[in-house]
């Protein structure tokens, strides 16, 4: 159902072809936003565009430095600016999950590249557009999708948990620094969802106990629409 606060809102979602990202694309389109999504594999992007013909699909890998500005250019070319950036694309690190002592340095680097440095680079490349949105009376927001693994030290989730903890703290600091520019930066923990990423991490999970990504997408969209509140900064745990 369209939502007045989303009409003409320009939103970009990374990792938009599966799991939570795909549900966010659907939810945001349903509410009336203009949506661009990013994913690594062109066939997935094309398939998702068939499902959501009004969304703009962009092929690129946020973990690759050389991809970030081409992605940003295409987002801005598709939407003519930007109001909301959702850094959703995530890497679990090595799978099957394993103790940190058995984690290769390269796997840790890859998790950090996808979950921390990629969102940092893309946000930085799009910050000028978000600030322009704020100066024109918009309420721009950067949503970094986090996890309870950012806070709780789950064994075997080292690469993922450490990268999400860093993303969480980056969000808090950046939010404080950008308050005067009128840009919010929030980290949101969507909860344990029935997604391909979760299946990869916990293959034998009871899927019936997991949250549907559509539910999490709805909750995240509600938070985007919520008025800015300084007390909101930091990790949001949406109701589970």
């Amino acid at each position: 159902m369209t939502d007045p606060s989303f009409i003409r809102l320009r939103v970009a979602v990374t990792g938009g072809t599966s799991g939570l990202g795909r549900s966010l694309v659907r939810e945001l389109l349903d509410r009336g936003a203009r949506v661009a999504f990013v994913a690594r594999h062109r066939p997935d992007v094309e398939r998702t565009m068939l499902d959501f013909p009004t969304a703009h699909g962009i092929t690129g890998d946020v973990s690759r430095k050389e991809d970030v500005h081409p992605i940003a250019i295409q987002i801005l070319g598709a939407l003519d600016g930007l109001d909301v950036l959702i850094n959703n694309a995530s890497s679990l690190g090595p799978v099957p999950l394993r103790p940190l002592a058995d984690t290769d340095c390269e796997d840790l680097e890859l998790a950090l590249a996808t979950n921390l440095v990629g969102p940092f680079r893309l946000t930085k490349a799009l910050l000028g557009s978000l600030a322009a949105s704020a100066r024109s009376g918009g309420r721009p927001v950067v949503v970094n999708i986090s996890s309870d693994a950012a806070v709780t030290p789950y064994e075997n989730w080292g690469a993922y948990g450490a990268s999400k903890a860093a993303l969480h703290h980056l969000s808090r600091i950046w939010d404080a620094e950008l308050t005067n520019e009128g840009i919010r930066v929030v980290a949101i923990d969507p909860g344990d969802m029935d997604t391909p990423l979760h299946a990869l991490a916990v293959p034998d999970a009871d899927r019936l106990t997991l949250k549907q990504p559509e539910t999490a997408a709805r909750e995240i969209a509600d938070q985007i629409a919520a008025p800015a509140n300084p007390a909101d900064a930091g990790l949001h745990e949406v109701a589970q």
């Binding site: 940003a72 000028g128 100066r135």
Partner: protein
């Protein structure tokens, strides 16, 4: 004057030569720009991001290599990316100074160009053998992807290292509509914006599709700057009006901001918000209606950038500026040092308004 030979060596460590309204010259660090502004002033910058507007490819009729430099568009609309004004070069790249580049093959309307993943056609020849109107034969999304992934930033031989896209974006870069960086904006960073705010200086932006600055051909360079589309947000127009009404100064970061604001200046103290196309040249005879001071890079006498500075100060003052800059080893061009030039008491503008 020597050119700065690496990206961003300017920005925060650059030097800043300031000329006040009496024509007095002083020397500063670029990072000290806020100290030249006062509470109640409005700093206006161009927030255009820079397209990687150099496309290597092949002229299909002759099978010869060409470099296409996109140099201008019709509007800032994101869907309006199928037609461009473009300057063509023959074989080679930026490592050869533009004035030594071979000509492209003789071009005719209808000629096709293969530019990486993109196909384009020569729509018509413009007033020069290397200046064309070009049309991409793809939907906008394909053109955006092709330029974003295949294009390289336009650059010149005095910067030997290959530029990455991020080298050409200012900190505040927003919509990618410029063909070369609005380079005076390299001086800005977020800490400086905070410092300005704490001094009571307001900050606003407009978006101006800064065009190509040099073609390597004197005849073609005389046509510069081309017509450039711009967009002035309503919030910026409101701040301009409020600042002028309260006696504050409008300080433009870069020549493109002067061009856009003065083009949009319709009534005293008022700029028209919205979309426009700057078609005018600003010279020593221009009457500046809105802008009180400019922050700019250093440019050679005779260039269109330098001509614009003549609207702010008289020739003896600008000659003194150049002499002092040369004596102190200031670096020119887009990654070099900066000048801050207040509108002087002896300029045409001032005489008109006096």
């Amino acid at each position: 004057m020597n050119a700065a030979s690496a990206p961003r060596q300017g920005a925060r460590r650059a030097r800043l030569l300031a000329i006040d309204e009496n024509g007095h010259v002083s020397h500063h660090r670029a990072a000290d720009l806020p100290s030249l502004l006062e509470g109640g002033d409005l700093l206006v910058a161009n927030d255009a991001a820079t397209l990687p507007a150099s496309l290597q490819g092949t002229h299909l009729r002759t099978d010869r290599p060409v470099e296409v430099r996109l140099a201008g568009g019709h509007s800032l609309a994101a869907h309006d990316v199928t037609r461009f004004t473009a300057v063509l070069f023959g074989a080679g790249d930026f490592r050869t100074p533009t004035e030594k580049r071979p000509d492209p093959p003789r071009l005719q309307p209808g000629d096709e160009l293969a530019l990486g993943p993109l196909r384009a056609a020569v729509v018509r020849m413009l007033s020069h053998g290397r200046l064309i109107e070009l049309a991409f034969n793809h939907p906008p999304a394909v053109v955006w992807e092709g330029i974003a992934r295949h294009g390289r930033p336009i650059q010149y031989a005095y910067v030997p290292a290959t530029l990455a896209i991020w080298d050409t974006w200012t900190s505040i870069a927003g919509r990618p509509v410029a063909f070369e960086p609005p380079s005076a904006g390299f001086v800005l960073d977020w800490a400086m914006l905070r410092a300005l705010r704490s001094r009571g200086v307001r900050f606003a932006t407009l978006t101006h599709a800064a065009g190509i600055s040099s073609t390597g051909d004197a005849e073609l360079d005389r046509l510069l700057p081309f017509d450039e589309p711009y967009y002035i947000p309503r919030s910026t127009a409101v701040l301009v009006r409020r600042t002028l009404r309260r006696g504050g100064r409008i300080v433009a970061v870069g020549t493109t901001v002067v061009r856009a604001l003065e083009h949009a200046a319709r009534l005293p103290g008022w700029v028209l918000p919205g979309h426009g196309v700057a078609t005018q040249r600003i010279t020593s005879l221009s009457h500046l209606r809105v802008v009180h001071a400019i922050v700019s890079g250093l440019h050679e006498a005779g260039s269109s950038h330098y001509e614009l500075l003549r609207a702010f100060q008289d020739d003896p003052t600008l000659q003194e500026m150049t002499a002092q800059a040369e004596a102190r080893g200031y670096l020119a061009h887009e990654f070099g040092d900066l000048v801050f030039i207040a509108r002087g008491r002896n300029t045409f503008s001032r005489r008109l308004t006096a």
